[in-house]
Every structure is written in structure tokens, then in C-alpha cells.
């Protein structure tokens, strides 16, 4: 069995009095695309920086490709490439130089891919500072994908791209992961885009993992049940109640269960309806529309 691409154990990072990440345990298998979701300040960028070895954990550890992220052997350093929010080249730099810089770090750098990726975007001859926000993101995305690294850490990679470019970027990312068997961690707020390509999803809330699993399993297992009355139904064994909320004479309950819709409907009682959730609904349920976390809502429900 392959060792995990990323393994975080009891991982925490504090900045003065701010706890950016708390006791995080996460194992990302190789060859998967992980969507890292969460509200602003949930710890997504901190996690990516820890995985890149840019900052030191306050407690715990994180291993990348089987080695501690802060002391990767030199031959593995070029296999982990990041596109971290705020890490930008100087405004005078042109793509040609940036491509050469990336090629210096990445032994399998694919120059022809970069040329194709950036063709017709008007970014070859301009200085980085003269590009629009979307062009800058496209350029950085192109450099990152051309690196042919086995682990990509992407922080809001499609931020500033128009809808067509976002779709195109994520299609490239899907192909990249499939062709190279690469692992990609994508922190984003644009859920509809990542939903098309992600294999797994982790939702961070206040520095903790509130939900983690295969997107397919979560879609199949997490359901929204609307039942008449203002009390949460008792589902019995095999059903985990995630949250519950009363709305205009009925109760919405979110559950996680391997049971089929018919069985859940039967347990919820007469008049109940069962619905599957989109990733966006899962996110809103977990992170809370007003920043209320799942754990808080679950406590209220039980």
C-alpha cells in the first residue's frame, strides 16, 4: 500500500494568541484531489504553509511524501510546489524568466505545456506587474502545472479568473492528477468549481477539521430530512444526527448514515422527505452560514 502523500498528526499552529490550526489529524492518500474548504480564517492557508514546510508547527507534525515537511530531502523538494496566496513574483519579472526559475526547481518541467497553456492570453511578453489579476493567476497556475510536481498545494488558484478560465483550469488540474497520479490540495471558496473535480473534501472550521471524507461517500451518506412538527426525529442505530433546525412548523435534520433513503424516511416518520446534499449545502451545514460550526449546531440538536 502506498504511503500517504500528506499525513498530519495532532498538528497545531499558533500565532501569538491566535490558534490558526488546532490538533489536526489528516491523511491524504496519493493521487487524490482534496478540496480544502472553510470560512475565512479557518486555517486553510496555514495548513498549506505547514505542508510546504514554510512554517513550523507549534505542536504535532506533518509528513509529506513520507518525510517531515520541514526537512524534505533535496531530491524531493522540487516535487512539492505551491501556489500560495500572496506569494508573488516581482512586478518586473517576465514569464520567460519565471519559467526558467521554475524549471530550475522542477526537473520534469514541461515548457511546451506552459507555452500551450499561456498561448493567446497575452502574458508572454508583459511584465508581471502589467498583467491583470486574472492573467497573474493564470500565469502562476501555468507555472505550477508545468512543474510536473507530484504534490500541488493550491491556495485559491482560480481567484480572479473568469468562469470559462476557471472551468478550463480545473479541467487541466483533473487531467494533471489523472496523468501523473499527483496529489492536489485545493483551498478555495468557489465550491461549484472544485465540486466537479475533487475526490475528497475537508472542511475546516476555526482551525479544526469539522468534516472529512470522500466526496462521493459524503454525497451518498449525508442527507437532509424534512419532517413535520418541531421535534427532531429519533432515528435509532446507524444514523448520526449532524444538525437540526426548526423552520415554519417543520424540522430540518441533517444526518450521516449508510442507510438508504427509504429506510431513513421510514424512521423519520410519516410525511418526512429525504434529500441528497450538494457540496455547497454540506459546506454551509458544516461551516454555518453565519460562521456557526457544525459541532455547535450538533450540540444544540442533541
Amino acid at each position: 500500500m502506498n504511503s500517504p502523500a500528506i499525513q498530519a498528526t495532532n498538528l497545531s499552529r499558533h500565532y501569538a494568541r491566535t490558534h490558526a490550526l488546532r490538533n489536526m489529524d489528516l491523511e491524504v492518500p496519493p493521487g487524490r484531489i482534496l478540496a480544502l474548504l472553510g470560512p475565512n480564517g479557518a486555517g486553510k492557508t496555514t495548513f498549506l504553509k505547514l505542508v510546504m514546510g514554510l512554517i513550523e508547527p507549534t505542536t504535532g507534525q506533518v509528513s509529506v511524501l513520507g518525510h517531515p515537511s520541514r526537512s524534505l530531502p533535496p531530491q524531493l523538494a522540487g516535487k512539492v510546489v505551491g501556489m500560495i496566496e500572496g506569494h508573488e513574483p516581482p512586478s518586473w519579472a517576465k514569464l520567460e524568466l519565471l519559467a526558467a526559475v521554475q524549471a530550475g526547481a522542477s526537473p520534469n518541467f514541461d515548457f511546451s505545456f506552459l507555452k500551450t497553456f499561456c498561448a493567446d492570453r497575452g502574458i508572454w511578453t508583459k511584465r508581471y506587474g502589467a498583467l491583470s489579476k486574472g492573467q497573474k493567476r493564470w500565469l502562476l497556475a501555468g507555472l505550477t502545472l508545468a512543474s510536473r510536481a507530484v504534490l500541488l498545494l493550491l491556495d485559491e488558484p482560480a481567484d480572479g479568473l473568469d468562469p470559462a478560465a476557471r472551468r478550463s483550469f480545473y479541467d487541466h488540474l483533473r487531467d494533471y492528477a489523472t496523468d501523473l497520479g499527483a496529489t492536489c490540495v485545493v483551498a478555495t471558496h468557489i465550491i461549484s468549481d472544485i465540486e466537479r473535480v475533487a475526490d475528497d473534501v475537508a472542511i475546516l472550521v476555526r482551525g479544526r477539521i469539522a468534516l472529512y471524507g470522500s466526496l462521493e461517500d459524503l454525497r451518498e451518506q449525508v442527507r437532509e430530512i424534512e419532517s413535520p412538527g418541531d421535534t427532531t426525529p429519533q432515528f435509532g442505530e446507524g444514523v448520526e444526527v449532524l444538525a437540526s433546525k426548526g423552520i415554519a412548523g417543520s424540522t430540518l435534520t441533517w444526518v450521516k448514515s449508510p442507510l438508504d433513503d427509504g429506510e431513513l424516511q421510514r424512521r423519520a416518520g410519516a410525511g418526512a422527505t429525504v434529500r441528497n446534499l450538494t457540496l455547497e449545502s454540506l459546506y454551509l451545514l458544516t461551516a454555518g452560514q453565519n460562521g456557526d460550526s457544525l459541532s455547535r449546531e450538533a450540540k444544540e440538536a442533541t
Binding site: 512554517i55 533535496p74 523538494a77 510546489v81 526547481a105
Partner: protein, 211 residues
């Protein structure tokens, strides 16, 4: 740990503006200063200090987003450190060597109308070595300072102490005992500079990139 030409180009372009500015200042000073040059002169010392300061700031500042960009490209810390040191050395030579050539060749003697200059020029030959010694003393300190200050988990207090130590060590060496008059006084300076260089190397291996 490898030399990467593109990375060197990237780093050197970052320091080009200050290197060109200090090159002009240094060479013009050499050409137009009518009095004999002295190792303890303040103006070249100031140029060396600010050039070192700007190099350390442009090449080795972890809090800078451009520096962070290089770290997230996948370079090993060893490679980044080696190339940063080479870029620093090239930038230093780009200012020091032309100034030294002006002094060592008949350029300065021919440029100045003073008839005693062909004779004085011989006495000035050791002066560029003093500037090089200042670079060797200051550069490791300032690289260490910039990196240490930007480390969120290691605190800036130690860096401030190092800076105070640098002033205590460097000032008397540069002003009181300019190279090569009392070489014995430069021995502790060289040791301290070597210590700062080694400390920078070790710090680089565990550097945090807070940007």
C-alpha cells in the same frame, strides 16, 4: 545544493538597482576625490554599509512576498542559500572591483590633475582591501539580521543583540584600526563574521517564511 543560473538571474535583478547606484557613487568618489584615499575614510564606509544593507534587504528577507514566491517553487533551502550567497558576492564585486580597478590602475592618477598623484597612487593600493574587509565583516551580519528579524517564532530580541554586538565589534575595527594597519584587531572581527555566516547558514535550514 546547486547553482541555478535562472535563480541567480532572478536574484541579481532584485539587487541591480542598488548595485548600479552604489557602483556609480563609489567610482565617482574615486575619480573625483582630490585628496589621498585613506582606509579609515567615512564616505566609502557609508557606501559599503548601505550597499550591504540593501543587498541583505533585497536578497534575504523572508517576510518579502517575492522571497516567499521562490520558497513555494520547490527549491531546497540549501540551493536557495547557495544562490543567495553567490548573488550577494557578485553584487559586492560589481561595486568593489570597478572601484578597486580605478585605484589600482592609472585611471585615478590620470584623472586627477594634481602632479603628486602618480606618487600617492602607490600608497593608496591597500585602501580597496579595507573596503573588501568591511564587506566581509558587514555582509554576514546583515544577512543574519534580516532573516532573524523575520522569524515569527524565534523573536527579534536576539537579532537586536546581534546588531548591538556588530556595532561594538565593527566600529572600532573600521574607524580605529583600518585595514591593513593593525591586522591583529581584524582577527576577532573575522571570527565574528565567520560566526555570523555559519549562523545564517544554520538559520536558513530552519527558516520560516511568514509572508
Amino acid at each position: 545544493m546547486r547553482v541555478r543560473i535562472a535563480l541567480l538571474r532572478f536574484l541579481l535583478q532584485r539587487s541591480t538597482a542598488s548595485t548600479v547606484a552604489f557602483f556609480c557613487l563609489m567610482v565617482l568618489y574615486m575619480l573625483f576625490k582630490p585628496d589621498p584615499l585613506d582606509s579609515a575614510e567615512a564616505f566609502p564606509a557609508i557606501i559599503v554599509f548601505f550597499h550591504c544593507y540593501s543587498l541583505a534587504s533585497s536578497l534575504g528577507r523572508p517576510a518579502d512576498k517575492h522571497f516567499a514566491f521562490l520558497f513555494s517553487r520547490g527549491y531546497s533551502r540549501d540551493t536557495l542559500w547557495l544562490n543567495t550567497m553567490i548573488a550577494t558576492a557578485i553584487s559586492v564585486l560589481a561595486v568593489w572591483l570597478p572601484a578597486a580597478i580605478v585605484v589600482w590602475t592609472p585611471l585615478r592618477a590620470n584623472f586627477l590633475p594634481d602632479p603628486e598623484y602618480p606618487i600617492v597612487a602607490a600608497a593608496e593600493r591597500t585602501v580597496p582591501l579595507a573596503w573588501l574587509a568591511w564587506y566581509a565583516l558587514l555582509m554576514p551580519f546583515l544577512h543574519y539580521e534580516w532573516i532573524r528579524w523575520a522569524q515569527p517564532t524565534r523573536g527579534a530580541f536576539g537579532a537586536t543583540l546581534v546588531q548591538a554586538g556588530m556595532i561594538v565589534v565593527a566600529y572600532p575595527i573600521v574607524v580605529v584600526a583600518p585595514w591593513p594597519r593593525w591586522p591583529i584587531l581584524w582577527a576577532p572581527g573575522a571570527l565574528v563574521a565567520l560566526g555570523a555566516f555559519t549562523a545564517t547558514r544554520r538559520l536558513y535550514a530552519r527558516i520560516e517564511v511568514p509572508a
